[in-house]
Symmetry: C2
Subunit: 229 residues, 2 copies
């Protein structure tokens, strides 16, 4: 089902590696060296990349496509942890310990992933500390985001969480946003249910803050108002 190709047999990998933000400040020669250690795998939409409980010491880097990381609780409730877009990576804990995945990773669309083994990456990091700094930057950013999400779940109402999420989706200039996921997944990410998301969005629309235009399309009418909720 999945296609595995070894780095030095696939020139496409070079594009892959150089695509990744954490590597793209490096000169050609170093990139070649790193490529030697990289494998790549492709997944079709809906395929599971790893399961909770799987053991692994591999770093996964999304080359192209889109991946969702989610958790299943004992009671069967799904919680979306994050979405990976091209250049994003996951599995970093595996760098330091033979660890067990807590979450599931699933390809949302056809996706190509680059793999680096923990030991290989550790060698690379010791040799090229600037890469380590890049990864640290990415990790601290993600940590900050995760703690922010924790705080919101703990202290804000669903309406406020939705409003803040929408506000963060706004690109400069345009007032129109496209939701990066289905409302079902959005509900899971925000720690609520699809029904409640639907109701609160309808409320926000009634109150004149937003306009729902299509399945995943929303127009922000009053951004400042949203942020005051």
């Amino acid at each position: 089902m999945t296609k595995i190709s070894c780095a030095h047999h696939d020139d496409g990998n070079k594009a892959c590696v150089s695509l990744v933000p954490i590597f793209n400040h490096l000169v050609e020669e170093k990139l070649d060296e790193i490529m030697q250690t990289v494998q790549s795998v492709t997944y079709k939409k809906g395929e599971v990349i790893y399961h909770a409980g799987d053991q692994s010491n591999t770093l996964y880097i999304v080359n192209h496509g889109r991946v969702k990381i989610y958790h299943l609780s004992e009671s069967g409730k799904e919680q979306l942890v994050r979405i990976l877009n091209p250049g994003d990576f996951t599995g970093e804990l595996a760098l330091f310990q033979q660890s067990i995945h807590e979450n599931f990773a699933e390809a949302l669309i056809d996706t190509k992933i680059c793999l680096i083994q923990g030991e290989d990456l550790q060698d690379i990091l010791l040799k090229y500390p600037t890469i380590a700094l890049q990864i640290m930057k990415e990790l601290t950013g993600r940590l900050e985001k995760s703690e922010q999400q924790t705080t919101r779940l703990a202290t804000e109402s669903v309406e406020t969480r939705i409003a803040l999420f929408l506000a963060e989706c706004v690109e400069d200039d345009t007032r129109k946003i496209e939701l990066p996921m289905s409302k079902k997944d959005l509900a899971s990410y925000l720690g609520t249910t699809p029904e409640t998301v639907s109701r609160r969005l309808a409320d926000l629309e009634d109150q004149g803050y937003i306009l729902q235009t299509g399945q995943r399309h929303i127009e922000i009418i009053d951004l400042d108002g949203l942020l005051l909720l």
Copy 2:
């Protein structure tokens, strides 16, 4: 109120730096070098180390004492993000960007903190990549914990969150645990209210899972039972 001392004027700093897990694999000579860049500050119980909104590019390492990091929402609700014990650090985002604190840091007891400026630390990391790996390990651990906490807030009931928290407080051997914080702070950490914590703990006691012995002391009667909630 707070006492600032420069590293090379205070021999106590050597103990400080070598205490810190991320540094304690280094040889003497490197420690000396790092010490040159370290400042230390002491805070009395209750003093605020930094405020949300403060600008900073400093890494804070707790030498001795205890610090709580918490967030205040617009509505005035407090959310405890984490507790720092000796050897723990915070402010890592500041390494890469002149950033603004999202949270407050407050000394829970008399506390001594070591400070390293972002640029200094960046130099150190490039020179001694093993330190970068240590910090990455710490960051990934914290990220995993934060995502776990997010997931629990999103999918588990207060009772389950309390049960899981208690289970994690259990040291091997003993069944008696000491809560690492007040019940008020625990409520804030778990995203609920002191009243609810009080009620759910009473429930757990009625159901025979635990025994409340003192203000911060709980005896676990049925650990397996707790984990099945």
